[in-house]
C-alpha cells in the first residue's frame, strides 16, 4: 500500500522539525544569572544594538570581576545573551520570547521605536524588564510598567539644546530632516514643539529610509530659506551626507542635531570641522574624565577598545541599575519585586553623576533615567565646547 506509506513518511517529515523544538532548555548549574541584550545588530542601526550589547557585557564583567553578583547569600555569575531584533517590531517580540525561553528576565535594549512598540505588550506575558533607548513618543507608558527608558529623550533635552543654540546664532526658522518612519517622525514632532516654544518657525522634511543621495531633499529644503537645518534623528551616516551636501549647496547657516548621539561619525562622514562649520547638538552624557574612565575600564574588563562612543555611556547605567536592583531585591526570578526596587533606587552613577527618575511629565510614569547631559557647539569650525545641563524634573 504505497499510498499509505507515503502519508506516513510525509507526516514524519513535517512533524520532525516541530518535534525537534521540544528539546528541554539548558539545565542550570550553580547560580548563573543570564541577562539579555537586544537591538539591531546587523544592517543600518547596528552600532546602537551593538552598543547596548557592549553596555550589558561591561556591567556583567564589572560584577563578575568582584566574584559575581550578590543575590541573597549567593554570588551569581552574570552572562549576556545577545539578540538581533533587526529594528523591527516583530524582531523585538520574537527576541523577547527567545530570551524568555532561556530563562532571561532582564533585557538591556531594545534600541529603536519600532522595537519598543513590538516588545512592550509582551513583557508582561514573559515577565521581563526591558530598557529601551528609543526616542518614541510613548517610550514608556503606564500600561506597560515593566518597560524602562534610557533617557532622556528629545522631550528632555530639545528645549535646552535650542536655548543654547539661540545664544550663538540668530535662528528664526529651522528645517528638520528625518526618515519617514517612526524613528524619524516621533522625534521631529517633539522637536517641532520645542522650537515653536522658543519662537522658531519650523518646516519638516521626511525622506525614505535607505536614501543615499540627499541632494534633491536639500534643494527642496533650501528653497524655504531656513536660518538653520536640524538633522533630528537621521542616522549619523545619513546626517553626515546631509551636512556635506548642505555645505556643497552653499548653505552657510548653523546645522543642528536634536536627535541623539553620533556627532563623531557625522564629523567623519561630512569631511571634518571645516565642512561642519557651525553645528549644535545634543551631546548625550558629558565628556568628563569620570565618563572616560568607562572606556578605560571597558578595555581592562573586556580586552578591547569600545567603539560605540557616548552611546555606551548612555546605555551602561541601565545595565548597572538592573543588576543593582536584582542584588537589592535578593531574587533573580521575581521580576515584579526587582522592578519595584528599581523604581526606587537612587539615580547616582559612579561615572555619569547624579540623575533623576524622570518621565512623569512627558509619559505619566517616572521610569526614565535622566543623567546630566551636554549640549555641544561648534562655531566657525572650532569646537566651542559642551555645556553641561543638569537634569531637572
Amino acid at each position: 500500500m504505497p499510498m499509505f506509506r507515503r502519508i506516513q513518511v510525509s507526516l514524519v517529515a513535517a512533524t520532525a522539525v516541530i518535534a525537534g523544538l521540544a528539546t528541554p532548555a539548558l539545565a542550570q548549574s550553580g547560580c548563573e544569572l543570564k541577562i539579555g541584550s537586544m537591538g539591531p545588530m546587523s544592517g543600518g542601526g547596528a552600532q546602537w544594538g551593538l552598543a547596548m550589547d557592549g553596555a550589558a557585557r561591561m556591567a556583567a564583567a564589572e560584577v563578575n570581576a568582584e566574584g559575581g553578583l550578590k543575590v541573597g547569600d549567593r554570588k551569581c555569575h552574570v552572562t549576556v545573551v545577545a539578540y538581533d531584533s533587526k529594528y523591527t517590531a516583530d524582531g523585538a517580540a520574537a527576541g523577547s520570547n527567545a530570551l524568555a525561553a532561556e530563562g532571561i528576565h532582564f533585557i538591556i535594549g531594545p534600541v529603536g521605536a519600532p522595537e519598543a512598540t513590538g516588545i512592550k505588550p509582551i513583557l508582561g506575558r514573559n515577565q521581563q524588564i526591558a530598557w529601551n533607548g528609543s526616542y518614541a513618543k510613548d517610550a514608556v507608558t503606564t500600561r506597560y510598567p515593566l518597560m524602562f527608558h534610557l533617557g532622556p529623550g528629545p522631550g528632555g533635552w530639545a528645549d535646552s539644546v535650542i536655548k543654547e543654540a539661540l545664544k550663538h546664532w540668530k535662528i528664526q526658522s529651522v528645517a528638520l530632516i528625518a526618515p519617514n518612519d517612526q524613528g524619524g517622525t516621533d522625534i521631529v514632532t517633539v522637536d517641532e514643539v520645542a522650537y515653536k516654544d522658543n519662537g522658531v518657525k519650523t518646516t519638516s522634511e521626511y525622506y525614505q529610509r535607505g536614501t543615499t543621495n540627499f541632494a534633491p531633499i536639500i534643494t527642496r529644503v533650501l528653497a524655504t530659506n531656513p536660518d538653520a537645518v536640524d538633522t533630528a534623528s537621521s542616522p549619523p551616516g545619513d546626517a553626515g551626507v546631509i551636512v556635506k551636501q548642505l555645505r556643497l549647496a552653499g548653505f552657510k547657516g548653523p546645522i543642528g542635531r536634536n536627535g541623539g548621539p553620533g556627532t563623531e561619525e557625522i564629523l567623519r562622514v561630512s569631511g571634518g570641522m571645516d565642512v561642519l562649520k557651525d553645528f549644535y547638538w545634543y551631546a548625550g552624557p558629558p565628556d568628563t574624565p569620570e565618563a572616560r574612565v568607562i572606556d578605560a575600564d571597558y578595555k581592562k574588563l573586556l580586552g578591547k577598545d569600545q567603539t560605540f562612543g557616548a552611546s555606551l555611556w548612555g546605555d551602561l547605567p541601565g545595565a548597572r541599575m538592573t543588576l543593582k536592583a536584582i542584588s537589592v531585591a535578593g531574587t533573580i526570578d521575581d521580576v515584579q519585586k526587582v522592578a519595584e526596587v528599581l523604581r526606587h533606587l537612587p539615580v547616582d552613577d559612579p561615572n555619569l553623576g547624579k540623575g533623576v527618575w524622570s518621565g512623569q511629565k512627558q509619559f505619566g510614569i517616572a521610569q526614565e533615567l535622566m543623567y546630566p547631559f551636554g549640549v555641544g557647539i561648534i562655531k566657525d569650525g572650532k569646537e566651542v565646547g559642551v555645556t553641561r545641563v543638569e537634569p531637572k524634573l
Binding site: M1, P2, M3, F4, R6, I7, V9, S10, L11, A13, A14, T15, V17, I18, G20, L21, A22, A25, M41, S42, G43, A46, G49, L50, D53, V81, A82, Y83, D84, S85, T88, A89, D90, A93, A94, G95, N97, A98, A100, A101, E102, A113, P114, T117, G118, K120, P121, I122, R125, N126, K137, R143, N180, D181, Q182, G184, T185, D186, Y206, Q208
Partner: protein, 321 residues
Amino acid sequence: MDDKAVGLIRRLGGAEISAVLVFVISFAIPLLTKNVMIYSVLNQIMVGVVATFSVWIMLRMNLLSFATPAFMALGGYTVAIAGQYDISDAVVLTLASFAVPALVAIPLGALVLRLRGTYFVLVTFVLAQIMQLVLFVTPGLTGGSNGISGVPPVNLFGMDMMTNQQVLLFACGLALLATLITAALTRYFRRHFAAIEENDVLAESLGLVVWRYKALGFVISAGVAGLAGFSLVNMLLTAHPSSFDSIISVDFIAYSIIGGRVSILGPIVGTSLMVYATNLFGTHGQYAQGLYGVLILIVVLAARGGIVGSVTALLRRRRAA
C-alpha cells in the same frame, strides 16, 4: 484498507491530508506544554506558514511573487482598524482579513498578471514597496510610521483570546484554515496549475483559459496573505509598518523554495526549519544574517527541489532499487 478508501485518499492527495493533519495535531502542542520558546517559535511558524502558502500558491503557476507583505499589511491593518471601532469578533475579522486583500487583488491582478516571468517578480516587489509608502503617507487611517498599537484581543465564541496559549491556539486555527483553503485550491485545480507551471503555451493551445486560473490563484493567494497579516497583528497586538517591510517577502520565498515547491508540505517544512534557525541564530547577534545566508546556500546546493523534493526523490529511488 479497501480500494474505495485508497481511491479517496489518492483523489484528495497524500501530502494535502498530511498537511492538514499536521495543523490539527499542532493544536495539541499549546495544550501540552508551557515552554515559552516553543510558544514563540510555533507562533512565528504559524504566521510564517500562512504567508508562505501565499507565495507557494503563485509558485504553483511558476509565478514568483514578492507582493505577499503588501497583502499581509492589508489583512493586518484591516483587523487593527476594525479594532479601533471595537470590532473584535473572530469570525468577522477572519472573513474581513481574507476578503479585503482578495478584493484589492482583483484590479491589481488585472494589472500585473499580464506580465510574465521576471517582470512579474520585479513588479510585485514594487507593489510591496508602494504599500510601505502608502502606510507612511496615511497617518490618519493607518497611524503612519507609528502603526496602530493596542489592538484588542479577538473574541471567539464570546471568549477573549488573551493569554499566550489562546493566542497560539488561534494562530493554529488560522493556519489550519489557510491550509484547508490552499490545499483545496491547489488540489482541486492541480492539473490546471501544473499545466500552467510547466508549459502555459501548450496549456492554452489545448483550450485552458490560463488567465482565469492565474487570477483565481492571485486572489486566493492575496486572501491567504491577509490571514497571515491577521495572525501576525494578533500575535504582536500591534500593526506596524516594519512588520510588512517589502524585504520580508524574501523570507517567505526562501521558506517555500528551501522546503520544496513541489508539495504543500514544502512550505511547512521550509518555514519550520528556517524560523527555528532564525531563532537559533538570533542570539548570535551580528552573525545571524550570515548564518542564514550560509544555510540558504547549503540547502539550495545540496537539496535540489528543496527538502521535501529531495526526500521524496530519495524515497522513490530507494523504492525503485
